[in-house]
Amino acid sequence: MRRLDFLQSDRFVGLLFIAPFVVTAIVFMVYPIAEAVRMAFFSYNPLRPDLVSYVGLNNFEFIFSDPLFWSSFSQGTIWTLLSILFQTIFGVGIALLLHRKLFGMAIFRGLLLFPYIVPTVVIALIWRWIFNPEIGVINYSLQSVGLISEPIYWLSTPTMAMASTIMLNVWKYTPFVVICVLARLQAVPLELYDAAKVDGAGAFRRFLDVTLPQLREVLIVVIVFRTIWTFNKFEEIYLLTKGGPGTSTFNLAVYSFEQSMASLRLGVGAATGVVMMIMLMIGSVVYLRVAGFGNEEKST
């Protein structure tokens, strides 16, 4: 009887609804993470599956003593910080523009999502053409208007290649920031602006004292997510520069891939993934604490 009651209860329906997510998360998230953590302590060449051996912390020792790991870390950090900085600045700016009621704005908002919707592989290949020093549209345009006389080799020097990958990342993911910020802007009470105006605040002052504080929570969340996703990003860098020239645009995701697939050291690749996970967890917690995320809710 009690069992029948449970089957008819809201609690059971709730469990039913959540079950697909839990199963999916276990299969596609929890298990792979657990397997990666396990593999980080083993030596495993995929071509020799019969020769798997426990190596303790050797894989971690390997990566921490590998200069390429550290340069990948620092390059990945630069790529992440600059990408997030520009995405945030452009995202907030564009969202403020789109917040105005102008004719055709709905169409423009739709178009803005285009970079975010198109698959990364397509975008990266298109950008390779765009960046092509001889036939790319950027050099052609800049030369046409007389801004440059010699073609710029966008992907051929370490600095330019890093700048180009950041440009691609900013172009593709700024719309995500725009959507989040725009959604929040539309929920800001207009009375706050009216009151500020009555108090004599100009447009810039209203932005600083009304808009930004209202955006604070959403920006904290957006920055955390974008940081995690960008720091882990593999496909854009790999498809655009393959980590080159040299290893100048390697980040830890590319490093992990190279160790796993090119060097056939799956254990080292997994150890890199574990280190990345720990770094991001620590970084996210510290950032959320420093930014004071959720403090307002607690205080109310």
Partner: protein, 463 residues
């Protein structure tokens, strides 16, 4: 009767006879070629996956196999899957690791030899006997394609050297010497002269990116200087940190100002592009450039000729990097082994199909068998008429200068070369010099350390 005198169907009858005998004693009944029956056929169904590099020749090979399938395995369809060069290593390794290899692979000898030494390939000595052990063109041996510990694992698909492609209209215009007589200094001077005198044109182009193409281009210079990565005769000791490596790296550094600025990221396609679009007057490349120029840039095709590489002034070597590309059959998780062997045998013993294979992209893939190389049918191609010397250089005279990372200076099969290319060690060494501005000595030391790590990790293969 030699094997080449037989038709493919006669060879198949031999196979059927063998299988018939096997079936009679209750062995191999699953092979499905029933004994002595006129309608002996495989009843297997499905798609037989074949991997090949970009280009029409893999498709030409598979077309022959499908002709065999129509007659002998109507439920099977051979299908080529093209893998980009720079993705070949990753694709191969991930699919082999995932235990879903294709049933047949056409691949470059370094990777074939790695797989062979790892025990991933099927020995094919029985096929070699049927194809004919004495059929190979002069100057090559079966082991160039892949043999290990006395067994052959790879059936030749083609040989494919990269050579020095030169725009002869530019050479004549600037009064340069015959490229056939050049040593490295002449090549350097020619590149410099062209760069200085021809606006918007680089004198020379080779790949300098972190990729397979750079590995192959640099390997030719290294070998011409007499250098190697490993000493096959001395337990594969690393011998890369040498004056020869420094000499080759120094030469690359000297040539760099006369290359397109983007060369530091160039791979296969970009080097072809540079030549076919007239951005460079000279390049290192395989015959594919001419094939593409013929289709897209007729004047450049007409003006371009191929030469054996410029001599190293010290050693007089003109080493190329010859892709002894072959067909290999994954031994594990391969449900179509017998059918693949039969179909491959059919293609390998058909003059018509082998000529079609070579003609599919002239002069990129050179014939490996004498009867094909010397046949009138092969010569019946417009390129042979318009560029006989260039085609003959690719097909024949280059063989005297053959080298490969999988068989350095032809002094012994090297199963570690696949790992070297997988990690782009040679390309990274070159990039240390051309991008990071390290000295050639520093770069050679770095490369030697990386090679030593590969040797140490894979010493098991060398025993």
């Amino acid at each position: 009767m030699t094997n080449m005198d037989r038709t493919p169907s006669q060879l198949l009858l031999d196979r059927r006879g063998f299988l018939g005998g096997a079936a009679a004693v209750g062995i191999g009944a699953g092979n499905l070629f029933s004994a002595g029956s006129a309608s002996a056929q495989s009843t297997k169904t499905g798609t037989v996956r074949v991997w090949g590099e970009p280009g029409p020749y893999g498709g030409a090979g598979v077309a022959a196999m499908n002709e065999w399938a129509q007659k002998n395995a109507p439920g099977l369809k051979f299908e080529i899957e093209t893998i980009p060069w720079d993705g070949v290593y990753v694709k191969l390794m991930t699919d082999l690791a995932a235990r879903r290899p294709p049933s047949l692979i056409s691949v470059e000898s370094p990777i074939a030899m790695q797989m062979m030494a790892e025990g991933l390939l099927l020995p094919v000595d029985d096929m070699v006997d049927k194809i004919g052990r004495d059929r190979l063109v002069e100057g090559v041996r079966w082991d160039y394609w892949g043999s290990w510990k006395g067994k052959q694992y790879v059936i030749p698909a083609h040989h494919q050297p990269h050579l020095l492609l030169v725009r002869m209209d530019i050479v004549k215009e600037l009064g340069l010497k015959d490229p056939d007589t050049w040593d490295w200094n002449d090549l350097l001077n020619a590149a410099k002269t062209i760069t200085q005198k021809k606006q918007n044109m680089a004198g020379f182009c080779m790949a300098l990116g972190r990729n397979l193409c750079t590995d192959y281009h640099f390997a030719a210079l290294l070998h011409a200087a007499g250098g190697r990565m490993f000493d096959a005769s001395n337990k594969f000791e690393v011998v890369f940190d040498s004056p020869e490596t420094v000499e080759a790296l120094t030469f690359v550094k000297e040539m760099q100002p006369y290359m397109p600025k983007g060369a530091v990221e160039y791979s296969f396609l970009q080097v072809v592009d540079a030549h076919v679009t007239g951005q460079t007057a000279m390049s290192f490349y395989w015959g594919r450039t001419l094939g593409r120029a013929a289709e897209e840039a007729k004047p450049i095709f007409e003006a371009t000729e191929a030469f054996n590489h410029a001599r190293n002034p010290r050693t007089s070597r003109r080493s190329n990097w010859n892709d002894f590309q072959g067909w290999c059959i994954p031994a594990q998780n391969n449900p179509y082994i017998e059918e693949v062997k039969q179909a491959l045998l059919y293609q390998q013993t058909s003059k018509e199909w082998l000529v079609k294979y070579c003609h599919s992209l002239m002069p990129n893939v050179a014939p490996t068998y004498k009867d094909i190389a010397n046949s009138e049918e092969l010569r019946n191609h417009p390129f042979y008429k318009s560029k006989p010397k260039t085609v003959d250089t690719y097909f024949k005279s280059s063989l005297a200068n053959s080298s490969s990372t999988a068989n350095e200076l032809l002094q012994g099969v090297n199963p570690l070369a696949g790992y070297v290319h997988g990690r782009s060690i040679l390309a990274q060494t070159v990039q240390k010099v051309v991008i990071d501005n390290q000295t050639p000595q520093q770069a050679a030391k770095w490369g030697a350390r990386e090679l030593e790590a590969i040797r140490r990790e894979n010493v098991r293969l060398l025993g």
